[in-house]
C-alpha cells in the first residue's frame, strides 16, 4: 500500500514540477493582462466586454477561414464553393457560419463603437485607441466585402461590378486602382486578387487589433460613471482587492466565448433549415450570375453595404460622378468624422447630455444607417427623387437636434433628473425611444416609396429590434444584481447544471450518428446548443462560486 501511495506522491510531484517548469519558461503566468473590478463581470457588465465579443467572433472567423482556404480555388470560384457546400464534410456548416460569424463581427463592431462613442471613451487618454478602432471598422467592412465576393454567385459579381464602377470614377487614379483592385479582367485574376485582399485585410485587422488591445490594457478600461463622475481622464487602476485574472477573468471570457460562438453556429444552422430564405439573410451563396434563377435576385450588395447602395439611387447622385459622390458623402465623410471626433469634442465631460452636438450626430448616424439599409433592402435599384430624400432624411436630423439640445438645456439647469440609479442608462432608454420615433417618421413617408406594406413591416421589425436591444441592454447596465453571497449551493443550481451537462452529452452522442455532409446543419444546431448550454452552466457556476 505504501508503495502505491509513494508512487502517487512521486507522480504528483513530477506533475507539479513539470507545470511549474512550463509556467516559468513560458511566462504565461506573467502575461500583462489586467485584473478588472467585479462589477464589470457581473450581470449587466457585458457592455465592458463588447471588444472581447468582437475578438471571439474574429477568432472564429480566422479558424473557419483557414479551413475554407484549404478548399477554395479562385480559378473556379463558384464550383469550388459548391464543392465546399456539397462534398466537404461539414463544409456547409463552415461556410454558413463563416458568413454569419462575419455578420456578427460587423454588428458587434458597430455596437462596440457606438457604445464607446456615447460614453465618451475616445477622450483623453484613449484618443489613439479610438482612431485605431475606427480604422478596424473600415478594415472589417473591407474584409467583409472581399470575403463576401469570393463565392462567385450573382451577388458577388454585382458587388464587384459596383465596386469597380465606383473605383473607376476616382479622378486620375481610377483606372490604376481598378487594375490594382480587380486584376486584368479574367476570372482567375479577379478572384485571386480578392482572396488575397480578403486575407491581407484580416492580417491587418489582426495587427491593428493587437495594438488596439495593448492600448486598452495600457489605458485600462473606462470605469463606470459612478467612479468617473463623468470626467475624463478616467481609468481603472488595479487594486489589491481585485480578484486575480486567473481564474476569474479567464472563466468569464470562456463563458462569453461559448455563448458568442454558440449563437454564431446556431443561428445560421437554424436559418438554413428553411428553404428559399431571402438572399440578404440566406446563409448560403446565391445562384450563378448566368443562371435563370439569377434574374429573380435583386441587384443587392451584402446587407452591411446597403446604406451606401441606397444613397447611389438618390436623385442628386444620378449623374455621372454620382456613385462616387454618394460613397464619399455616406461612406467616407462619416468615417472621417468618427476618426477625428477625439479632436472635435475636446471637453473633459463624459456625460452625453453635456455633449449635445456629439450625441445628436451619433444618434443621427445610427438612424441613417438603419433607414438607408432598410430602404435599400426594400427598394433595390429604385431611383428616389431628391425632394423625397430630403423629406425622409431631414426630419429625423431636425427632431434629434432639437430634442437633444432641449433636454440638454433642461438637464444643465438642473430641471431634469433622469432616473435615480444612473443617468446613462435612462439616457440610453431615451435614445432607443427616439430611434423608434424617428423610424416611425420615416415609415410615414413610406407610401411615397411604394411597397408600403413590406417596408412598414421591415421597419417595425428593425425598430422593434433596436428598441429591444437598447432597452434591455441599457437597463441591465444599471440594474446590476446585488453581489449575492451563497452560503449553500441552491438545489436549483445542482439540477440546472446537471441537466445542462446531461443534455450536452446527449446532443454530442446524437450528433456522432449524423452524416457530416447531408446533415451538417443539424449537427450545427446541436453544436450551437451544446456551446450555449455549457456557457449557461458556466454562468450559473460563476454566480454561485464567485457571486458574479
Amino acid at each position: 500500500m505504501s508503495s502505491i501511495k509513494e508512487r502517487v506522491k512521486k507522480a504528483r510531484d513530477f506533475g507539479t514540477g513539470a507545470w511549474n517548469w512550463f509556467m516559468n519558461r513560458s511566462h504565461l503566468d506573467r502575461l500583462p493582462l489586467r485584473k478588472t473590478p467585479d462589477y464589470m463581470r457581473q450581470w449587466g457588465g457585458k457592455w465592458y466586454w463588447t471588444g472581447a465579443l468582437i475578438t471571439i467572433a474574429f477568432t472564429y472567423e480566422v479558424l473557419t477561414g483557414v479551413i475554407l482556404l484549404l478548399y477554395y480555388n479562385p480559378a473556379s470560384p463558384y464550383p469550388s464553393t459548391q464543392y465546399i457546400l456539397n462534398s466537404v464534410p461539414f463544409g456547409k456548416l463552415l461556410l454558413a457560419t463563416h458568413l454569419y460569424g462575419a455578420y456578427a463581427m460587423i454588428v458587434l463592431v458597430y455596437i462596440h463603437m457606438f457604445r464607446n462613442y456615447f460614453v465618451g471613451a475616445y477622450k483623453k487618454p484613449r484618443e489613439l485607441q479610438w482612431i485605431i478602432g475606427v480604422l478596424l471598422l473600415a478594415l472589417t467592412i473591407g474584409a467583409g466585402y472581399f470575403g463576401y465576393s469570393l463565392s462567385g454567385d450573382v451577388l458577388s459579381y454585382d458587388a464587384q461590378d459596383v465596386g469597380r464602377g465606383i473605383a473607376s470614377l476616382i479622378p486620375v487614379l481610377g483606372q490604376w486602382l481598378v487594375s490594382v483592385g480587380f486584376g486584368n479582367g479574367t476570372t482567375t485574376s479577379l478572384f485571386t486578387k480578392f482572396l488575397g485582399y480578403h486575407i491581407i485585410m484580416v492580417g491587418l485587422i489582426a495587427l491593428l487589433f493587437g495594438y488596439h488591445f495593448y492600448l486598452a490594457e495600457a489605458n485600462t478600461m473606462l470605469p463606470s460613471s459612478k467612479i468617473s463622475k463623468y470626467r475624463a481622464p478616467a481609468s481603472t487602476p488595479e487594486t489589491e482587492n481585485m480578484k486575480p485574472w486567473y481564474p476569474s477573468n479567464l472563466l468569464y471570457l470562456v463563458e462569453l466565448g461559448l455563448l458568442t460562438i454558440g449563437f454564431i453556429v446556431f443561428i445560421p444552422s437554424f436559418v438554413g433549415l428553411f428553404p428559399n430564405t431571402p438572399i440578404l439573410i440566406s446563409p448560403f451563396p446565391g445562384p450563378l450570375p448566368t443562371s435563370a434563377a439569377a434574374a429573380l435576385i435583386p441587384p443587392y450588395p451584402p446587407w452591411f453595404l446597403l446604406f451606401v447602395y441606397k444613397a447611389v439611387d438618390f436623385g442628386m447622385f444620378t449623374n455621372y460622378m454620382g456613385p462616387l459622390n454618394a460613397s464619399i458623402v455616406f461612406g467616407l465623410l462619416p468615417l472621417i468624422y468618427f476618426l477625428v471626433i477625439p479632436f472635435l469634442d475636446r471637453g473633459n465631460s463624459l456625460h452625453p447630455l453635456d455633449r449635445p452636438i456629439t450625441t445628436s450626430l451619433g444618434i443621427i448616424s445610427i438612424v441613417y444607417l438603419i433607414i438607408l439599409s432598410v430602404w435599400g433592402a426594400f427598394t433595390p435599384g429604385l431611383i428616389i427623387p431628391s425632394t423625397q430624400v430630403a423629406l425622409v432624411l431631414l426630419p429625423p436630423a431636425i427632431i434629434t437636434f432639437a430634442a437633444i439640445f432641449g433636454i440638454s438645456k433642461m438637464w444643465k439647469k438642473g430641471k431634469l433628473k433622469i432616473g435615480n440609479k444612473s443617468t446613462t442608462s435612462s439616457f440610453f432608454i431615451f435614445i432607443s425611444g427616439l430611434v423608434v420615433a424617428v423610424i416611425l417618421t420615416g415609415y410615414s413617408f413610406s407610401y411615397f416609396v411604394g411597397h408600403a406594406s413590406i417596408l412598414s413591416l421591415g421597419k417595425l421589425v428593425l425598430s422593434g429590434g433596436a428598441m429591444g436591444f437598447l432597452a434591455i441592454g441599457t437597463a441591465k447596465t444599471s440594474d446590476q444584481l446585488p453581489d449575492q453571497k451563497f452560503k449553500k449551493i441552491p438545489t436549483g443550481a445542482y439540477v440546472a447544471i446537471a441537466l445542462l451537462t446531461f443534455m450536452c452529452w446527449v446532443l454530442l452522442g446524437l450528433s456522432l450518428k449524423l452524416d457530416p455532409i447531408s446533415q451538417a446543419m443539424t449537427v450545427g444546431m446541436a453544436l450551437g446548443t451544446v456551446l450555449i448550454f455549457s456557457g449557461i452552466a458556466l454562468a450559473i457556476y460563476r454566480r454561485i462560486i464567485y457571486g458574479e
Partner: protein
C-alpha cells in the same frame, strides 16, 4: 469568492461544468477534424474504355511496333494514373505469345493469376507505369526491349525487362511483371486488355495485382476519366533523348 461552500459540492459542480464544456469542445474538434479530410474522388467499378490515339482513332494491335523502347502510355482507371502499353518480342524481334502465369507478391507471399497477352500474336500487355517501390514514373521507369537495350545489375545483365533507374527495381513483363530485382517487394499491377479480333481494336476493362502505388484503392484518389475512351500517348524513346 464565496467561502462558506463545501469543497466536495463545489468540486461536483466544477466537474459538471467541465464536462459540458468538454462536450462542446469535443464536438467542435470532431467537426474540424472531419472537415479537414475530404472524401476521396473516384468511381465504384472498373470502367471499360477503348484505347484511342490523339485524333480519337482506335489503336490497332497491328500498328503497335514490337520491342519499341518508346513509352506508349494511357491513363486507367482514373485520370493521370499512367500505364505502359507494350508489345513484347524476343531478342530477334519476333513477338512472344505471353501466357497467363502465377505471380507472387514477395512482400506478402500472396499470389495471383496474370492476364495473357492479346493481339494476333498474343504479345500485347499493359502494366501500371508507377514503380511499386517509391512511385517513380517514366522516364525513370522504362522498358528495356530484349536484344535492343539492357541493364547490368550486380554482374548480371537483364534485357526484355521493365527497370526503374530511381532505386534499381526490375520487373519481368513476360511473367506478369513479377519482381526480378529489388528493392521493390511488389510486382507492377497488370491491366486487362480486351482485343476485338474482327476490328483489331483494344479495350481496357480491369486490373489485377497489387494496388496502384500510393493509392488507398485503384478506384479512388483521382479524378475519374470522362467518356468511353482513354488516349494512348507516345512519350518518346528515353534512350535516345
Amino acid at each position: 469568492m464565496n467561502e462558506g461552500i463545501d469543497e466536495t459540492k463545489r468540486n461536483f459542480l466544477k466537474l459538471m461544468v467541465t464536462a459540458s464544456v468538454v462536450a462542446g469542445a469535443g464536438l467542435s474538434l470532431g467537426v474540424v477534424v472531419k472537415s479537414l479530410s475530404p472524401p476521396q474522388a473516384g468511381i465504384n467499378s472498373f470502367p471499360t474504355l477503348k484505347l484511342v490515339d490523339s485524333s480519337g482513332n482506335p489503336v490497332l494491335t497491328s500498328s503497335l511496333p514490337t520491342n519499341d523502347p518508346s513509352a506508349m502510355q494511357f491513363s486507367y482507371p482514373l485520370q493521370s494514373t499512367p500505364n505502359f502499353l507494350l508489345s513484347i518480342g524476343d531478342s530477334n524481334g519476333t513477338p512472344v505469345n505471353i501466357g497467363a502465369t502465377q505471380v507472387s507478391i514477395p512482400a506478402t507471399g500472396a499470389t495471383y493469376q496474370s492476364y495473357s497477352g492479346v493481339g494476333k500474336n498474343g504479345s500485347v500487355v499493359a502494366y501500371s507505369a508507377i514503380c511499386q517501390h517509391l512511385g517513380c514514373i517514366f522516364p525513370e521507369l522504362r522498358f528495356y526491349p530484349a536484344g535492343v537495350e539492357s541493364i547490368t545489375l550486380g554482374g548480371k545483365t537483364y534485357t526484355g525487362v521493365l527497370h526503374c533507374l530511381c532505386h534499381g527495381s526490375t520487373y519481368d513483363p513476360e511473367k506478369g511483371c513479377s519482381v526480378l530485382t529489388g528493392p521493390t517487394t511488389h510486382p507492377l499491377p497488370m491491366i486487362k486488355l480486351v482485343w476485338d479480333s474482327s476490328t483489331d481494336e483494344l479495350y481496357v476493362s480491369n486490373m489485377v495485382g497489387p494496388t496502384i502505388y500510393g493509392r488507398a484503392s485503384d478506384l479512388t484518389g483521382e479524378t475519374p476519366i470522362s467518356g468511353t475512351t482513354t488516349e494512348v500517348t507516345n512519350l518518346g524513346n528515353p534512350f535516345t533523348a
